[in-house]
């Protein structure tokens, strides 16, 4: 039974597991009732050269929530210092608007992206996976 449980856990780990921001997607930082969460996987994303799309959007109630998410993003940024795509981001959290786009290390044949945006109290975090080469391509595809 223990072996089965371990096997199950091993096989059901989330794609974005290993990231510091993972608890946000798991609803452990902001309750689900306060978030707009999107989870899309499979053929519907082929148009965007993606296989997985996960996003979380919420209105922060206080500075602590912003700080917590910011710190987690900061940790993931430090893990991938050479893969920053675009940055209008301050590590001092003084700005009211911030964006950060990271290309994470590949998992198998899939490229992985982590995007963070804050507009005052509104925070959006996106995790994407797929054959997409760059966020510039995605920008073109969305048009």
């Amino acid at each position: 039974m223990i072996f089965m449980a371990c096997f199950w856990m091993l096989l059901t780990t989330n794609a974005q597991s290993g990231l510091n921001i993972e608890p946000l997607f798991a609803g452990k930082i902001i309750p689900q009732q306060r978030m707009v969460e999107t989870r899309v996987k499979g053929k519907m994303l082929s148009k965007y050269q993606l296989t997985l799309f996960r996003s979380v959007r919420f209105q922060a109630n206080n500075k602590q929530e912003i700080t917590r998410v910011h710190d987690l993003i900061e940790l993931d940024k430090k893990k991938h210092p050479n893969n920053i795509y675009s940055e209008n981001y301050s590590s001092t959290k003084s700005r009211s608007k911030e964006t950060l786009m990271l290309q994470l290390s590949k998992e198998g044949n899939h490229n992985r992206f982590l995007c963070y945006k804050r507009n005052n109290e509104e925070v959006t975090v996106i995790y994407m996976e797929g054959t997409l080469n760059s966020l510039d391509t995605l920008r073109e595809l969305i048009k």
């Binding site: 689900q32 009732q33 707009v36 899309v40 996106i126």
Partner: protein
């Protein structure tokens, strides 16, 4: 052996043979019938017999008793079983059990088969094998315990294998399956249009050209300090 010699020995032999047959069959008419059959056999082969014939007569009686006991507990030839039976779960379990029994040490295997497949009682088995009933019971108990342990091991391994296969299939299914869901402040939406619209909106917001916003931002930062 002459006819007279046979007649002389047969008279004294009868009671001895009855007691042998009764050991196997109890005090029944069958014991008498078996002795009768023995005497007939001996009579027919009297010319080849050499005196004394008591040991040989006892052996013939014993063999006839065993044949009689076997006839009382008929067994079915496994090849005669219908195809339908073979496919049933019970059939598979029995076959599995027979395979396990075949791996037992010879004494345990023999006793187990005699008791459970031929339906012989421990007392009868003890007589046939020239052993005691207690020894037969002990061997039978050990054999059952060994079969049980081996079957449990086989079933546990099979269950584990099935479990792993099911989990793998499930995970592969989950991995390869499409998913389209949005939770808007705790409310679940699964219709593709709504979810994709939300996704596109979020994606668009994130990737939109922020040059103008950036300038405004920098100006705000500059004048707010």
């Amino acid at each position: 052996m002459t006819t007279d010699e046979f007649k002389q020995q047969a008279e004294g032999l009868r009671l001895q043979l009855i007691s042998v047959a009764q050991k196997y069959l109890g005090t029944t008419d069958e014991a008498e019938d078996i002795v009768q059959d023995t005497m007939v056999k001996l009579w027919l082969m009297r010319e080849q017999l050499k005196s004394p014939i008591s040991a040989f007569a006892c052996m013939v009686t014993r063999n006839l008793c065993i044949d009689c006991l076997r006839r009382k507990h008929p067994t079915v030839d496994i090849t005669q079983l219908s195809y339908e039976d073979d496919l049933s779960d019970d059939g598979e379990q029995i076959e599995q059990m027979l395979r396990v029994i075949d791996t037992l040490p010879s004494t345990q295997r023999t006793i187990l088969r005699m008791h459970h497949l031929q339906g012989m009682k421990t007392k009868e088995i003890a007589i046939v094998l020239g052993s005691t009933e207690v020894a037969v019971r002990k061997t039978l108990s050990r054999a059952r315990s060994m079969v049980r342990k081996r079957l449990i091991a086989i079933f546990a391994a099979a269950s584990l294998l099935i479990g792993i296969s099911m989990v793998t299939v499930h995970v592969l299914k989950v991995e390869s399956s499409d998913e389209c869901v949005a939770y808007v402040y705790g409310k679940k939406y699964t219709d593709q249009q709504t979810v994709m619209a939300e996704m596109k909106r979020t994606m668009g917001e994130m990737t939109e050209d922020n040059t103008q916003n950036e300038i405004e931002q920098q100006l705000n930062d500059l004048f707010s300090n």
